[in-house]
Amino acid sequence: MSDQDRISEVGNTGAGTTYEEPLLFELSREGRAGYSLPELDVPRVLPEEILPEGSVREDLKTLPELSEVEIVRHFTRLSTWNAAVDFGLYPLGSCTMKYNPKINEKIARIPGFLLAHPRQPDALLQGFLELCYELESQLAAISGMDRVTLQPAAGAQGELAGIMMIRAYHEARDEQRTKIIIPDTAHGTNPASAALNGYKVVEVPSSDEGILSPEAVAGAMDDDVAGIMVTNPNTLGFFEEHMTAISEIVHARGGLVYGDGANLNALMGVARPGDLGIDVMHFNLHKTFSTPHGGGGPGSGPVGVKNLLAPHLPTPVIQKEVGAEGPQFRLENDLPHSIGRLHGNFGNAGMFVRAYTYLRSLGPEGLKHCSEMAVLNANYILARLRGTPYRIPFDRTVMHECIVSDAELSETGVTTADIAKRLIDHGYHPPTTYFPLIVPGALMIEPTETESREGLDRFVDALLSIAEEAKTDPDTVRTAPHHTRRSRMDETKAARHPVLKWTPEPPT
């Protein structure tokens, strides 16, 4: 039996329908095919005869040769190695892993959306342009911003766009500002986005209450500061109660206020960033507006601005013109003060269709109810963990997510990562861990509104049983997970000796 045969024999593990799955390249068998192509109805051209010498490649030898059924089984089996929202609670803090409605997917696959082209003439794209225009208006209404661009492909690109607009705003006033203020609780993307724009990052500490104090911001604010980036609610789950005062302090010295909308799921119908002095913010359609996370994307990161930044919006912008034949939508590229383009096309258009479907399905009451239930669920978890071995670093009413710390468990030798891994044995994707950075041993739990009370009870019971186990049987926790098809992975080995692609074993 050759090596290749042996690997693909691994298949069934003897554990029912649980399959080990080799790589595509190991499964490959010469002569198999998974494609179907039409008969060529024009004369066949030999590439070597018409292309310059040396410009035609040799065989694609690494690409596999497999039938369709083998490929379908390969990826179906691989899929069973994943945890996902449709399996159960996925309380990954700051990522808003809410249910992704099936109707969104169905509508995104209608040919008029799925098979249309970004460069077809405006007249042949009116349905899509209208959808974009309406989605922009609705996001503006939810956030209290004046204008919205849908173009950024993800939250991080939205941040980049927002900071670019802040820079363009100052440059248009002949001001050379060099710094951006960022709180110590911020997501890593905030300082990275500021740095990509050439700004120096000034970090300000949070107060004892876990929020920003106007005094701290005033202390950092000077005429070199271009703006501040604030996540509200912040990553500790708290509403920034002094937001309006902070905005005033920054505005008084000529700075602008960037709002990271990662946590907007707490605020819909309750408060609007635009009413709190925020000048520019991004939305995450894959968090708040239910587009699927897809194993790490695509995201979509529209940006809302106040009118003072509208001249700097990325190109193109969509304009509505009402004529004799009803409204017409067209793309405007002529914006002399625009920061320019961030995406080769309109952005992740398929995500606009899903988010718009969601907004039409929810309406104003539905959106507000989502936020209320998201906040209720987070506070319920927090209330149930009060007085348990989990420490609550800032014990106040939270918004859509709560932070607890395992600090009291550390004497058992069990770490935050161990608790997270043990949660997997109880059937849960772990919360975000070790973030925000200012809380040692943080577990950041965001249940979202789409979880039931009894589901949350089971999750809390699992956390409590792990805390108990950490005292009675710490080894079991330290070596978790035990009920997965892979036990703890050696991440150090992966980084020390990177193997980043498959290579065939040399013939023996």
């Binding site: 690409l63 098979l115 492909a153 699927p292 994307g297 080769g344 995500m351 319920y380």
Partner: protein
């Protein structure tokens, strides 16, 4: 509300456990003056079938490759997407998972990314591929930023053959940095003018698109020589990924970084997104590569598995000193491309590329033989090329549209020297008969 399980009774119980009287009290930390006191001004909700009907009507107002014969490419290509792809990526285990931070319960996503990295390396002839970028345009911009970090230089030489939107995105990305962008003009045959005179000891990289925006095949070995003579990097951005199945890999022609757009590999056009960018480099530069990377390792029992690795390059660890601010990638689209490449496989992908080439050569031959039409650029092409039309691009494309054909891209704004002309793309979706009808419509000979 069908997406929310909790009932009034659940809510009552939960409020009691929390120790607050009502839902309003959940928001007590929001100052009174900050509250929104009226409903959000968005339209009232509609039921599932109404939303389906409403959006179907919107969709019906968009022409698409089902309703028309399709000759429009210019960076987004109408290739056929085999049915198995959508069936597999619709599986909730892929669709509703997130970034594989917890490898023990994410091996499905991680192994698929490892397979993607392997196949992208094979196609480009490079050592290391990341787990995708937002799109081809941002991949090109990030590639240039990477070359600037590697060389610690700040002058960028780009050919005019880059997609105009890629050039725009590149300008946007470098605007806040002290960088200079020089554009090498297009030569008379459609390829770039010689690049060497534009490169000096301050040049970080030369960036060339292959095939160029106008479809021509650039001379990559010459571009490599021009870059390397000054110790600059050669960045190759791939406009139509299917061409990689036919052309010598850029990695074998001297490219230091190869990036591009992989939409052609089974990702629907979807009005320009979500698509999937790729970014590759040589192994010695891996620590300057932005984006996620998946590596092979073992678990505590020695079994093979995969993890996200070399994260010390990334924003969640390095914050303002990260190689990029990128966080999410295009996970689901890279999965589509991985499944596509598996289905097409070693022989199918090459055969498909040859079909595309043959259709283009047939169309070009028909155009040469048709009065009023001509091919203004002589350089070899893959599946896309410029056609000069007799009157105006608008008129020619209007005639095509009347024949049920989306005939290509009007080039007036992109290549004024070639006006009136149209950029035409022939994929496997267009029949010989459709090509004949396009030629007739563009020339106006059928009137």
């Amino acid at each position: 509300m069908r997406y929310i399980p909790n009932t009034d009774r659940d809510i009552e119980h939960m409020l009691e456990v929390i120790g607050i009287p009502n839902l309003e009290a959940l928001f007590a930390t929001i100052p009174e003056s900050d509250r929104l006191r009226s409903p959000i001004e968005v339209p009232p909700s509609v039921s599932e079938f109404e939303v389906l009907r409403e959006l179907s009507q919107m969709a019906a107002r968009n022409a698409n490759s089902d309703t028309h014969d399709w000759f429009l490419g210019a960076g987004t290509y109408a290739h056929f997407c085999p049915s198995a792809i959508d069936a597999l990526v619709s599986r909730a285990e892929f669709l509703t998972a997130y970034t594989p931070y917890q490898p023990e319960i994410s091996q499905g996503t991680l192994q698929a990314i490892f397979e993607w990295q392997t196949m992208i390396c094979e196609l480009t002839g490079m050592d290391v591929a990341n787990a995708s970028m937002y799109d081809g345009a941002s991949a090109a911009a990030e590639a240039v930023l990477m070359a600037m970090r590697v060389t610690r230089r700040s002058r960028i030489v780009a050919t005019q053959g880059l997609s105009p939107t890629y050039l725009e995105v590149l300008r946007t990305y470098i605007d806040g940095l002290e960088a200079e962008l020089i554009v090498v003009p297009r030569g008379p045959d459609g390829r770039s003018e010689p690049i060497a005179p534009y490169v000096d000891s301050e040049t970080a990289c030369v960036i060339v698109q292959q095939p160029s925006f106008l479809g021509t095949l650039e001379d990559l070995p010459a571009a490599a020589q021009a870059a390397h003579d000054q110790s600059a990097q050669l960045v190759v951005t791939v406009g139509e990924a299917l061409s990689l199945a036919l052309l010598t890999p850029p990695g074998e022609q001297g490219a230091d970084i190869v990036c591009g757009e992989a939409q052609s590999f089974g990702v629907p056009m979807s009005i320009g997104g979500p698509h999937v960018g790729f970014l590759t480099t040589r192994k010695e530069c891996v620590r300057q590569l932005p984006g996620r990377l998946v590596g092979e390792t073992v678990d505590s029992e020695g079994r093979r598995g995969y993890v996200l690795t070399l994260a010390t390059r990334e924003q969640h660890i390095r914050r303002e000193r990260a190689t990029s601010n990128i966080c999410t990638n295009q996970g689901l689209c890279l999965l589509m491309a991985t499944i596509y490449l598996a289905l097409m496989g070693r022989r199918g992908l090459r055969e498909l590329a040859e079909i595309n080439l043959s259709k283009a050569e047939y169309a070009k031959q028909r155009i040469r033989a048709t009065e009023g039409l001509s091919l203004p650029l002589e350089a070899p092409t893959f599946n896309e090329f410029v056609v000069s039309v007799p009157d105006s691009a608008d008129a020619a494309l209007e005639r095509a549209l009347n024949a049920g054909i989306v005939g290509g891209l009007k080039l007036d704004g992109y290549a004024p020297d070639l006006t009136p002309s149209v950029l035409v793309c022939t994929t496997e979706l267009v029949s010989a008969q459709a090509i004949d009808r396009l030629v007739e419509a563009l020339s106006g000979s059928g009137r």
